[in-house]
């Protein structure tokens, strides 16, 4: 092929071809128009029954819909079983989960599994922070425990007994709340007692023991405590953390004195968002501890608390 023919015909046609290729590239949908790839995310609960964090789950589902995430909810056979959580965590990592949300039952028991899981997946915890996890979404547990203890100080005079419902291992966020409350109460001269068991057992103990105030540190134990308190003729004051429809009803009926509630929907949404960002290697903002609010019977229908206690459901 002569150089002249190449310059006259082949080169211009080649350049036309390149331009056409660029044109096709332009017509390819922009990145902004494409949804991110589907991300599989496992959620490992602490309790066998997930009703206590139904609102958080709705937040997770909303985030999953927004961020193209497929959620898989896993419940241990027994509540607060760190061993089962360990197994679930390892199994999910082995099965190739890109991101995992975990409600740890015990920091120490899960430390090793969390470390190895973090190396292979984006691990974010709720309720209890873990050193090995890439992120934590939840309240400042010590502050929440202290706030509950402070609330109980109003109901129990120095020397009087405050019963703390021990519903989770000490190495969990719930346990941390309880320890913080106990330290405060004891420092203020209150007698601190602990209880572990069912609602019936609690009712029985309250009936036979002079207890001025009871504190439950998470929703399930608060529901049980409320059920126990409601059976008593002269019930102690009940304080607790969590927000469910049953808790709202007990609060309205006066069985619960006050509740420290966080926005569970927000926690669920933020947890999925943080884990998805980590798994997709996107820039993520550092998460601050979530705020919590004190809700009493008198203010529970104020608009902001109404929205907090009763998530909009269709």
């Amino acid at each position: 092929m002569s150089g002249r023919r190449f310059t006259r015909w082949v080169l211009p046609l080649l350049m036309l071809g390149v331009l056409l290729l660029l044109l096709l590239l332009i017509l390819y949908p922009a990145r902004a128009e494409r949804r991110p790839e589907l991300l599989e995310m496992s959620v490992i609960a602490r309790e066998a029954d997930g009703s206590a964090w139904a609102t958080a789950r709705r937040g997770m589902e909303q985030a999953a819909a927004d961020l193209n995430v497929e959620l898989r909810f896993l419940y241990p056979g027994q509540s607060n079983s760190a061993q089962e959580q360990d197994q679930l965590l390892r199994r999910e990592v082995e099965s190739g989960a890109s991101a995992i949300l975990l409600f740890p039952a015990d920091r120490e028991a899960l430390a090793e599994a969390a470390r190895s899981a973090s190396a292979r997946a984006a691990l974010v915890t709720l309720e209890t922070d873990l050193e090995a996890a890439a992120g934590y979404v939840g309240v400042d547990n010590a502050a929440l425990g202290e706030a509950l203890g402070s609330a109980a100080l109003n109901g129990a005079l120095p020397g009087e007994t405050v019963l703390l419902v021990d519903s989770a291992p000490a190495g969990s966020g719930v346990g941390e709340r309880m320890i913080a409350a106990a330290v405060l109460l004891e420092a203020q001269g209150r007698q601190v007692r602990y209880f572990t068991g069912t609602a019936d057992a609690l009712a029985e103990r309250l009936a036979g023991e002079e207890v001025r105030a009871v504190i439950a540190f998470e929703a399930s134990s608060l529901e049980r405590a409320a059920a126990a308190v409601s059976r008593l003729e002269d019930p102690p004051l009940l304080y607790g953390a969590g927000s469910t429809a049953a808790i709202a009803a007990e609060l309205e009926q006066g069985h619960i004195t006050s509740v420290l509630a966080q926005n569970a929907f927000s926690a669920g949404y933020l947890a999925v968002e943080a884990a998805a960002r980590l798994a997709r290697r996107e820039a993520a903002e550092e998460l601050d501890p979530l705020p919590f609010f004190t809700v009493r019977r008198e203010n529970m229908y104020e608009p902001e608390y109404q929205k907090l206690l009763f998530p909009v459901t269709w």
Binding site: P12, M15, L16, L19, L20, L22, L23, I26, L27, A30, A32, E33, R58, G59, Q62, A245, A246, A248, A249, E252, Q253, G254, N263, F265, S266, Y269, L270, R297, Y301, P303, Q306, K307, L308, L309, F310, P311, V312, T313, W314
Partner: protein, 607 residues
């Protein structure tokens, strides 16, 4: 200054560029300007139409949603009217229990209703369906819907969504509702008293109407509902807003009039369309993020730019080929003219192309043909002129010499020197015979030397042997050819200027010899010679005037010199070597012409 420089540069570029490049550039420039203008016009038109279309689409969708919402609210109002006019108004509460009627009414619309209740003026529950036990903790008279009904008794009042907490629900269900309340007149024991009728509509009814509304053709548009104060009634991401994870510009939207507006919220440009819902004062707000529109416009603009670049490239290519095709005949003509300029004899000026170019080609051909004829004519005229000049130069010799010789013959005859007269006449006859040479301008060197010998014979007799003369020729030189009558004028000059004052000791020596490819005929005399400046002027054509006044102007020498140069070129001719009191040597340089060469020059001489 800069403008004139630019203009000058432009003119330089214009003059340097070929017609093909200029045509290509102008075609492309005009096409590109046209395309860009058309493209931008279409793009702007498209953008405006698209915006208008989106606004129109949003308004249409909002109108449809408004219709549906209106129907749902009307249904609530119908339930309220039915409850009031068919159940409550005609019933005497002291005698009749209206719970059953309300329950029936509730079940006819249970899908959209949460509860129906009638309260006394003091907030006491008179009747309710489906739940009928009021919570101990609630005080209906303190609720907003209650006071609104009592304050404006003629109106129906719609509340913002709230949790219905009036009745004891064993299932702990807290349902979000929109309450419709109105003032009612109750009859008890025949007496009329005031009361409030409450109809709670399920919030999910509003959600069903508003959800999945496609605004902005999949560009992330959505619809929400606010009340007159800007409080959100419905939002597709209400829970995120409640959680503080999302914000909405609902307060500003509540102040907008119906129609489409552009706003910037949290740095995002949005097209907001507002439609007021009847009875309630609520506003449907449709939001289409403008960024999405502009993303698409950006894509479109990029696409348009690439189309332009692509088209420009294609245009340049096509225009180059087109202009090359158009200008090919002109270029061919230009090349042919350049060849003509370079002096080529045969150039093909035939060009096929458009009419104008073919006409131009024919004109150039005709012009070249005319020019060639004119040049031939000029050459012929020049040749004729040269020949005439040669003839004139040649003819300048004879009359002068003839007169003197004949004068000498007469003188000799008168003095009885008949024999000498015969010799002189014989020499003269032979002299002229060679001079004529049957009209030929080219003769052999031998004939030329013979001619010189006869001339010297005559002159020696005239000058009474004041000088001696010798003629010699190298072997082979005599057979070569030369133009005739070139030696005689030099001899004449040597005799007149060198021998005039000689007293028998004058000497003239003529010798012919080869020098390379040339022939030299040398005429040497031992006369008085000439100063250098005279020698320098002798062959100078301008020197003729200067020497006109002196004895012998040297015209003979110049004639010979000019004839030789006219015939053979400027490298040939005379060279004069002379010193005062040391004689003069005149060298004639000629090409060594054989017979063939002599014949050729003879022809060129116009034979």
């Amino acid at each position: 200054m800069a403008r004139s420089s630019l203009s000058r540069r432009w003119r330089e570029l214009y003059h340097r560029s070929s017609i093909q490049v200029i045509l290509s550039l102008f075609f492309t420039a005009v096409a590109v300007v046209g395309m860009v203008f058309l493209g931008l016009t279409l793009f702007l038109r498209f953008s405006a139409s698209n915006n208008a279309l989106l606004a129109e689409n949003s308004q249409r969708v909002l109108s449809q949603v408004n219709l549906n919402l209106d129907a749902r609210l009307r249904e609530m109002m119908r339930v309220s009217d039915t409850a009031y006019y068919q159940v409550i108004k005609d019933a005497d509460l002291a005698e009749e229990d209206i719970d059953r009627d309300l329950e029936l009414l509730y079940y006819t619309s249970r899908e959209s209703l949460v509860s129906i209740a009638v309260f006394s003026d003091g907030g006491g529950l008179i009747a309710a369906a489906p739940l009928a036990v009021l919570k101990n903790s609630v005080s209906p008279e303190r609720e907003g819907w209650f006071s609104a009904a009592q304050e404006r008794i003629e109106n129906l009042h719609f509340s913002t969504p709230h949790v219905q907490n009036l009745f004891v629900d064993p299932d702990y269900r807290y349902r979000w509702v929109v309450s419709l309340s109105r003032h009612v007149e109750l009859t008890r024991d025949g007496a009329i008293e005031s009361g409030v009728l409450l109809v709670d509509m399920s919030y999910s009814g509003i959600e069903q109407i508003c959800k999945d509304v496609d605004l902005g053709a999949g560009r992330g548009g959505y619809l929400y509902l606010v009340d007159g104060a800007g409080e959100i009634v419905y939002h597709p991401r209400q829970q995120l807003i409640n959680a503080g994870l999302l914000e909405e510009n609902n307060a500003a939207a509540a102040a907008y009039a119906d129609g489409s507006h552009n706003e910037v919220f949290q740095g995002q440009r949005r097209q907001v369309t507002v439609k007021t819902v009847g009875y309630t004062g609520w506003k449907l707000v449709g939001v289409v993020p403008s960024e999405n529109l502009w993303d698409n416009y950006g894509q479109l603009l990029l696409f348009f730019l690439f189309i332009v670049i692509f088209s420009v490239f294609l245009l340049v290519l096509v225009n180059l080929r087109l202009s090359a095709w158009l200008t090919a005949p002109l270029k061919k003509l230009d090349r042919a003219v350049k060849e003509l300029e370079a002096g080529r004899e045969t150039v093909d000026l035939t060009v096929n192309g458009p009419y104008e170019v073919e006409h131009l080609s024919r004109s150039v051909q005709s012009m070249v043909s005319t020019m060639r004829h004119l040049m031939d004519d000029i050459l012929q005229q020049e040749e004729q002129k040269r020949r005439s000049e040669l003839d004139v130069l040649q003819s300048q010799i004879n009359p002068h010499f003839l007169y003197n010789t004949l004068d000498s013959v007469i003188w000799m005859t008168e003095n009885g020197r008949t024999e000498e007269a015969v010799v002189m006449l014989t020499a003269l006859a032979r002299f002229f015979r060679i001079s004529l040479s049957r009209g030929s301008n080219i003769i052999t060197v031998a004939e030329e030397l013979e001619h010189a010998r006869h001339y010297l014979t005559i002159q020696k007799m005239r000058y009474k042997n004041k000088f001696s003369a010798e003629i010699s020729a190298e072997d082979g030189v005599e057979s070569l050819y030369t133009i005739k009558l070139i030696v005689q004028p030099i001899l004449e000059n040597a005799i007149y200027h060198g021998m005039d004052y000689a007293d028998g000791d004058g000497s003239i020596c003529v010798s012919a010899f080869r020098e390379g490819e040339d022939v030299i005929i040398e005429v040497a005399d031992n006369g008085p010679g000439m100063p250098e400046e005279v020698v320098a002027r002798l062959l100078d054509q301008g020197g003729a005037c200067a020497m006109a006044g002196s004895k012998g102007s040297g015209i003979g020498l110049r004639n010979v010199h000019r004839r030789i140069q006219l015939t053979f070129g400027r490298e040939y001719g005379l060279t004069i070597l002379s010193e005062p009191d040391d004689g003069t040597v005149v060298r004639i340089r000629l090409p060594a012409l054989d017979q063939e060469g002599g014949r050729r020059y003879g022809k060129e001489g116009g034979q």
